[in-house]
């Protein structure tokens, strides 16, 4: 089975909210003091691919699109056990939206040619959009299942458990297909020392827009369908009243009294 996983480099979503900042000049966000990471849901997607590889054998190819991709970051899927890494790295890919990103990823997937399964994260931690997987499916005319928590390969098809707010759906889908992965799939594995060494030696392929046969006007910020008009941080007034006590137990009891006085309970 040939599996392609789309993984993005993002600012660290797990850094404390107090380190988040928007640069008004560029309308770009940063996490001060925290290095970029691979998108957590992309990492879950890598884990899902590796489980299928463990179960029945597969070649796992990872694609990351962006600019200034740090090799030690984007190589993490290789260190986890993926086989190949393709970088769509060029200034032309920069500043895209779900549309131009899906268009470029779909073109790269077509260029790879052989694929049974394409995995994406359910949503990237920066855009929180949840659209690129669906977009790739539509562009390539493939079936699509979102929010998967379990995948099981059958004969020419895949049984997918899809998370719902009340439980889950069992979905059968023919291959090739696009599946987006949710965290319920289970914790991504840690890279092994051997994996890290192998990843160090492996050079990613880098594909430029011309390699994809796509004009720069359809890529990155030039190819956007949705315009970002404003980006700002919400403000919280932060008026927490700390309830104290001689001991933690007393503080707990005082909290109950306080809530009663405030008619909260």
């Amino acid at each position: 089975m040939n599996i392609i996983v789309c993984v993005k480099q993002v600012i660290d979503p797990e850094a404390p909210p107090s380190s988040f900042r928007i640069d008004p000049a560029t309308n770009r966000a940063e996490m001060r003091g925290a290095n970029p990471v691979i998108d957590p849901y992309g990492e879950y997607a890598v884990e899902a691919a590796l489980r299928l590889k463990d179960a029945g054998g597969a070649k796992v190819t990872v694609i990351s699109l962006g600019s200034n991709l740090l090799r030690e970051v984007v190589k993490k899927p290789l260190a986890m056990g993926a086989d190949e890494l393709i970088l769509l790295e060029d200034a032309a890919y920069d500043g895209g939206d779900s549309y131009s990103t899906a268009l470029a990823l779909a073109a790269a997937i077509k260029k790879i040619g052989q694929y049974d399964l394409i995995l994406c994260g359910r949503e990237a931690s920066d855009t929180n959009a949840g659209q690129v997987g669906a977009g790739v499916a539509e562009i390539l005319s493939l079936p699509c299942v979102t929010l998967a928590k379990r995948l099981e390969a059958g004969a020419g098809n895949l049984v997918v458990e899809r998370v719902t707010s009340a439980g889950y759906d069992v979905v059968e889908v023919g291959l090739p297909a696009v599946i987006t992965i949710s965290n319920e799939i289970g914790e991504p594995r840690y890279p092994t020392v051997k994996g890290i060494m192998a990843a160090k030696k492996k050079e990613p392929l880098v594909w430029k827009p011309t390699d994809l046969g796509l004009d720069a006007s359809r890529l990155g910020s030039a190819g956007r369908k949705v315009k970002l008009l404003r980006l700002y941080q919400p403000v919280y007034e932060g008026r927490c009243e700390f309830v104290e006590g001689q001991t933690p137990e007393e503080a707990g009891a005082n909290l109950a009294i306080k809530l009663r006085e405030a008619k909260v309970i």
Binding site: E138, V173, L228, R230, P234, G252, L255, V264
Partner: protein
């Protein structure tokens, strides 16, 4: 390109009733349609759903499209998506509103791509730009650390709206509207991903989405045992149990208890967060609570930026005493 007209709301329903998210969509849609000076339409897909039309009209719809047939009784995304595609090609709305629900999350982006555009998902505010007449959609990004205002030039302008973010329509039974049963074609061949079974995993007791009080635990609870203590408090307050993501991922509590961006969005009267750091992704799910109370051993934890009352300390010591005192106060 902007020749499309009007607002179209996708109606989610269960057992012959519009769900709250449908009323929220109609509420937002009516406001946008009035600003545009255009019509508010809506669409319901299902079986035996004629009674939804009067509910939707009372809730502000000028026109209701009903796709009502026994073969549509069960939700199949590929079929529903195809029907939406047919309707949108025919009715040509400028704006399409769906809920950011299990259904909207999977249908809206694919629908948008079919019309050569993208959706804006999980919107918390919708407005019309005075000069251009285009939809301005505000949504949280970076896990809720920031808000972004987006617009598109291509029709339709597709959005999904966050649960409880829009003021719901107030029904008025004297409103008038028309009901249309549009021509459509169900092609079984479009189904390439088929739902074969739906599994409900929700626990008994007060539903998390509807609870007035929610007692929630985080990674600092440390195990399933700790959640038993939270359940005692929840029961005492006639509330429901919630959690941040790590306890769900660790299996200490059901996945359906997750509160946050990728879990449930709730707005209870009281939210008691125990050993939760208050990540932006978690707060996306509970910042609509009227009062947030936090117990955390770290005074610098982000949760205290959102909480109204807090105790800094080890929950294992603070919580039993808190629960005991609550019990005493409620009894008196």
């Amino acid at each position: 390109m902007a020749e499309n007209q009007g607002v179209l709301v996708y109606l989610e329903h269960r057992e012959g009733k519009l769900l709250p998210i449908a009323l929220e969509g109609l509420g937002a849609g009516r406001r946008l349609a009035d600003t545009l000076g255009q019509r508010l339409s809506c669409v319901a897909i299902g079986s035996n759903i004629a009674q939804l039309a009067s509910q939707a009209i009372a809730a502000g719809a000028d026109r209701v499209y009903l796709m009502d047939s026994p073969e549509l009784a069960d939700y199949q995304p590929d079929i529903y998506l195809a029907l939406m595609g047919q309707l949108v090609a025919e009715a040509r709305p400028q704006v399409i509103i769906m809920g950011h629900t299990d259904t909207g999350r999977e249908i809206a982006p694919r629908l948008a791509f079919r019309f050569g555009t993208v959706a804006v998902t999980d919107c918390v505010e919708l407005n019309i730009d005075n000069t251009s007449g285009r939809l301005l959609a505000t949504k949280p990004v970076y896990g809720g650390n920031a808000l972004a205002v987006f617009s598109t030039d291509t029709d339709p302008q597709v959005v999904t709206v966050r649960t409880k973010a829009m003021a719901p329509a107030v029904p008025n039974a004297s409103r008038q509207g028309e009901v249309i049963t549009p021509a459509y074609k169900v092609e079984p061949s479009v189904v390439r991903a088929r739902i074969v079974r739906r599994v409900l995993a929700e626990s008994a007791g007060v539903k998390l989405e509807d609870a007035a009080v929610v007692v929630a635990g985080g990674r600092g609870i440390g195990g399933a045992e700790g959640f038993k203590q939270l359940e005692d408090l929840a029961r005492l307050l006639k509330g429901a149990i919630g959690a941040s993501r790590p306890p769900c991922d660790s299996g200490w509590i059901s996945d359906t208890a997750q509160v946050g961006l990728t879990g449930k969005i709730i707005a209870p009267e009281l939210y008691i967060a125990v050993a939760i750091s208050g990540s932006s992704q978690h707060m996306s799910g509970c910042s609509g609570a009227r009062t947030i109370v936090a117990i955390n051993k770290d005074r610098e934890a982000n949760i205290f930026r959102h909480a109204r009352f807090g105790v800094v300390g080890d929950w294992k010591k603070v919580l039993p005493a808190f629960t005991a005192k609550v019990k005493e106060l409620l009894a008196s």
